[in-house]
Symmetry: C2
Subunit: 457 residues, 2 copies
């Protein structure tokens, strides 16, 4: 193992340059203009996997963007590990807020700035490089490995469910490893045992058939923006509790034990407040910020638009107004059921004088697993070797909807061991990856395969 660790250190600068190349590809899955970029990123991965020594490397079609599959199945008698990650990234707007362009990676003060640096290209890349280094230094891998990298994670893994369902034999494994979850904070690694689910909806409000002069018609007709505002406002009370009937019905309450464990993590809410730059934290009464983000569901308005957005004023009653909302869900909420509840709420609360239509976005179930698996403890030990402190067991507010699908269809345990930090601006301008975690992360993964070998033998 020490040979591998040394090898990783020696090649650190080359690897970093390779990652920077990867990050230059604007593989934004949400925007159809970037379809070719998505393909380019998949091809980049394919080449990288071939170079690393993987076999059966291929881009496999889905109903949407392709997945990249590869394997290395020469550890006879050993278990098979499936590694999952994604090569697509979030959109970059508002672009003017980026200090350096999102697809021109730049290193500043030990941070690599670029869209996807941390979420998730950096982490996908590390997995490839560690296995390449082991192959080069040891001549073989301790397990049979399969890797599956998708291009639609940031748009809800629209076609991966069907892909996994269809390719269960190809993907069959004993363990799934995913690096797409954050560490607790700088210097505090974490293994994640719970993810929130996701359910999204677009709301379109239609009023008059064309924009109207607010003088000539103001008072005669419903204003679609006002109708939308009223509708959205009716979905949450002033304390942040969602008021959609039935929304909390299936929410599993946080156990006293879990709340105590969260408390032990000692989240500094004042520091969080300061980091986020808000006058105060906000959310459902009776819960800490950690409990709210890990263990309670939300309904967020991700975007709203209607009428005039230019300089100064335009005295118009617009014809339309729009909003995009997503819910983060916790066990045992069912995404489709939640969307139905919201649609019913909208139907029941549509203000007079407008029509409202909705469009569902792809959904994902919440996920939670017991933390007593030996592969989880092995992860904790690997982190400890690289970071000098034991890993915390945490839940995560984000969603990796496909995790629940893998578990359900492939019937295997999942190890969520990530190297991102919560402050790395995922989905926001100035996303970055902390290079300390690039270095220690490579080591951690190398140690992990060793620890896992011990744990499973």
């Amino acid at each position: 193992m020490e040979k591998t660790i040394s090898f990783l250190k020696e090649h650190r600068e080359t690897y970093l340059q390779e990652l920077i190349d990867f990050l230059r590809i604007p593989s934004i899955s949400a925007l159809s203009d970037h379809k070719e970029d998505i393909k380019k990123a998949a091809e980049w991965l394919k080449n990288s996997l071939e170079k690393a020594g993987f076999e059966h490397v291929q881009m496999m079609p889905t109903g949407g963007h392709p997945v990249v599959y590869a394997d290395h199945l020469h550890a006879e008698g050993a278990p098979t590990v499936l590694i999952y990650g994604h090569y697509d990234v979030q959109p970059v707007d508002p672009l003017p807020l980026w200090q350096s362009p999102p697809f021109e990676p730049e290193i500043r003060e030990g941070r690599l700035y670029a869209r996807g640096a941390s979420d998730d290209k950096g982490q996908v890349f590390m997995h490839i490089k560690v296995l390449e280094a082991i192959l080069k230094t040891e001549g073989k891998l301790p397990f049979n490995f399969k890797v599956l990298f998708e291009g639609e994670e940031e748009i809800g893994s629209a076609h991966l469910d069907a892909f996994v369902e269809k390719n269960q034999e190809l993907l069959a494994a004993d363990l799934l490893v995913v690096s797409d979850t954050p560490m607790l904070e700088k210097g505090k690694p974490a293994v994640c045992y719970g993810l929130r689910g996701l359910a999204g909806l677009q709301i379109d409000v239609k009023g008059p058939k064309s924009d109207l002069h607010s003088g000539n018609f103001g008072g005669a007709v419903q204003n679609p923006i006002h109708a939308l505002v009223e509708l959205l406002s009716s979905m949450r009370d002033q304390e942040g509790r969602i008021t959609i009937e039935g929304f909390y019905d299936r929410v599993k309450p946080l156990s006293e034990k879990e709340r105590e464990e969260f408390k032990q993590l000692n989240q500094d809410e004042e520091r969080l407040r300061e980091e986020l730059g808000v006058p105060s934290l906000f959310g459902e009464k009776g819960y800490t910020a950690l409990e709210r983000t890990w263990g309670r569901p939300t309904l967020e308005i991700n975007g709203i638009y209607g009428g005039f957005q230019g300089e100064r004023i335009k005295t118009v009653i617009p014809s339309e107004a729009h909003a995009k909302i997503t819910c983060r869900l916790v066990p045992d909420q069912e995404p489709d059921e939640i969307l139905s509840l919201i649609e019913k709420h909208i139907a029941d609360h549509t203000p007079p004088g407008v029509t409202v239509t909705t469009t569902r976005f792809d959904t994902g179930r919440p996920y939670m697993t017991p933390i007593d698996h030996p592969a989880i403890h092995a992860a904790s030990r690997a982190y400890e070797k690289a970071y000098g402190v034991p890993a915390a067991y945490i839940r995560m507010g984000g969603s990796i909807p496909i995790v629940e699908t893998f578990v359900r269809l492939l019937k295997l345990p999942v190890i969520l061991m990530g190297f991102g930090l919560p402050n790395e601006n995922f989905h926001a301008p100035n996303e970055f990856f902390t290079l300390e975690n690039f270095d220690k992360g490579l080591d951690t993964l190398a140690y992990y395969w060793q620890e896992l070998k011990t744990a499973l033998s």
Copy 2:
């Protein structure tokens, strides 16, 4: 007079082509990119006035876009008439909804489509042409005339108040004529005796210092869009009544007499509903649509924006959210006082976890005049000669803030006689001017100066 009417008919096609030239200039006052176009439109007017025989034709600077002034003061002993109009136009977005480009005028089915065709370039143009025709056919004008065309009406006449105040001597007159108000409907001309005032505000909500991942932070912080939605929703009840404390305090109730007069106008609400393409009309309980648009104040959200507006979804908690609102005011509401009430409401209702700032836009007082002036009755008779039916006396939901300034500073009666129709898409895509009213309007104005002569002598 019949000579003038014939002359106008003979030159109708030439005039129409000239107007089309004028409409090609994209003189959008709200957008700084169009500053040169505004100047071009002012120069176009200057040339047109010189050609018509006006004197002292000049572009006069203001703090913003220039005004165009000209006069013809050779009717010794006769009263002086001041004609006011505006050569600036509204922005054109959403551009894709225009059937023909807004600045490439096109005639379809007796309608001239272009931004500004009806509001207000077409009507400004008609005034020039009628006086030009009288000069050419009669050799002299029946009154002393001054014209003042401004370039900032669509942005609240930001600098005209100061200009009028400074140039009271230059502008001194016995009567002000304005053609910027709509007729009641096709074939039903109207003289307007009341205008609503205007007060506008931009609301900017600031939350976290940058956009956040809705998974990692959803539940921990206030969402600026949600805060904005809550704030805006608190300003109006579900029946359309504004809930800002003190908003209605100074509103002069509609008299029973006026309500009866409105009723006589027989507005067909079902036809209006159908024309606007809404499932139902909407507004303050206890009033007809006409009463609500002419005699009751409003608060409209003209624009809202924040977060992700692209395809599909982006799971973001945005850093900011914004709205633009304007109120239409009725006597005796004071715009500045109304803005203060709204600002106080915002301060009192700002949700926790965000900061809210506001920016005021220019304001205008509401205006109402008694209808017993002989110049008003002369207008009614002129309309009757051209249209075959007497003019109705109406109020208007729109605002021409400068009217109140003229009345206050120059101490003269105002005749609001317009030729637009309420369905001509002012401020909206596909603005048009009904050519029937171009033709009959030219005749009406020619008759008007004759009728006015009789009325005042």
